[in-house]
Symmetry: C2
Subunit: 266 residues, 2 copies
């Protein structure tokens, strides 16, 4: 990902040494409890005190942890917004929990898992699970030279060619914005950026992972077809339960594939 | 601000004890170096190692500190984006530096200072400095009951009636979004929310301050009139230097007013 000029030598060193040893700690960043629960159940993770995240004391953040084969697995969710009672979706809460999780848990690999919208003209169907090739933002329009590129924030996902092949996942560019719906200007940018799937967190998680030099992949299950004939919110709610089950199944396959492998094996 | 059900008793206690003692530590969160520099110069602040922020090691974040009368003043900026070289504007980087600054510096008061757009139909002029009454987002459209309220994210600024009166600042609602321009749908929401000024960070800083229970105020200087006849980017760049000087002057007045006072005196 993007070069940082001032990282300390111990960070460089730990990055160099990473690829050769087996992955031991994986953190899932998941925005909604409904998306996280099937995975928590599947791996028998137990809720732990979010105080163990840097700065997590007294916050709504929810942290689960447990072991599966040789892997220490964490699932972190930004939790319920205290004022409205709903899951704290979107870029800001996800970037905060990603930041705090990396600080506290020092994962070898981050996985941002969740639901997404997708374009059927790009070959997507409800229930498909995608691995993102790279991520962009579609709602950060800053029409000043270089700021425009910063706004789009293109970042590659960590490259996992073997995982992609083995699990027969679909692949495409993920575009992130803080709205569930899509405005005309969002659509223009999504099309200009040639994105296949659309979510509300991915590019923000990628930003933090890039800043802190942690490899990240994106596993996104399609709840709604953006260019279909149903309203997004209705289609999203209708398919949420079914699709999170497909997400859990694929996340399980990913974990089983990762187990015992190093980053460079992925 | 919004109630949290699970804060620890020592947080409650420190909140109760806060209003009566003089404010000692103030942190300015400022997105752009050009907005921060006049203030850094005015107070003779010196750049310090951002490692002192939790997790700040190796990051582009910039931290200044110094003393003015009885106050310990910090200015924190998210710094230059490594890939594009521009200031890391917008909600995600500001929320991260706010989070880390609160953790590390334990401020009595946060001040999010910067430039903004404003509506002349609401009585705003170029160079005006506003104090925000409250903040909302205009680019988080989630048309599901309760999620819609969460998306708007209305939060009051810390109430400072005496400061407002003494400094003759203008007051209005601040609306935040990650774009410098304004789409049709942004405009619809800004008008529906009756906002007077528009920025790219405020509501995200408010979200983090609310989460961590730190009082926050917003000092925003008008660089461009949203309903004027010039393109936003052009007007913004043209007025940036002039307006940051007005911002510095007003921030100085705010600091001088705060000095020796407790939160409840503001």
């Amino acid at each position: 990902m993007g070069p940082h000029g001032d990282e300390s030598s111990d960070i460089e060193k730990s990055e160099e040494s990473r690829p050769s040893r087996p992955i031991s700690t994986v953190v899932f960043v998941i925005a909604m409890q409904a998306e996280a629960q099937p995975l928590v159940n599947k791996f028998g993770l137990s809720e732990t005190i979010s105080d163990s995240l840097v700065g997590g004391k007294g916050l709504p953040w929810v942290l689960y942890q447990g072991f599966h084969k040789d892997l220490h697995i964490y699932v972190v969710c930004p939790g319920k917004d205290p004022a409205s009672g709903v899951d704290s979706v979107g870029t800001v809460p996800s970037s905060l929990v990603t930041f705090a999780s990396i600080q506290a848990l020092k994962p070898d690999l981050l996985i941002n898992a969740g639901t997404c919208g997708a374009f059927k003209v790009k070959g997507a169907n409800i229930g498909d699970v995608f691995l993102a090739s790279d991520v962009v933002f579609h709602d950060r329009r800053i029409p000043i030279p270089m700021f425009d590129l910063y706004g789009v924030g293109l970042r590659p996902a960590f490259s996992t060619p073997n995982l992609l092949k083995e699990l027969s996942l679909k692949i495409g560019r993920l575009s992130t914005g803080d709205s569930l719906d899509m405005s005309t200007q969002d659509e223009t940018l999504i099309i200009a950026n040639d994105a296949t799937i659309k979510d509300m967190e991915g590019a923000a998680v990628a930003y933090v992972a890039d800043l802190l030099k942690v490899p990240v992949i994106f596993l996104k299950a399609v709840t709604d077809l953006i260019d279909g004939d149903k309203p997004t919110a209705e289609e999203f709610l209708q398919n949420l339960a079914l699709v999170t089950s497909a997400l859990e199944e694929n996340a399980t396959n990913v974990i089983n594939f990762i187990n015992g492998k190093s980053l460079s094996d992925l």
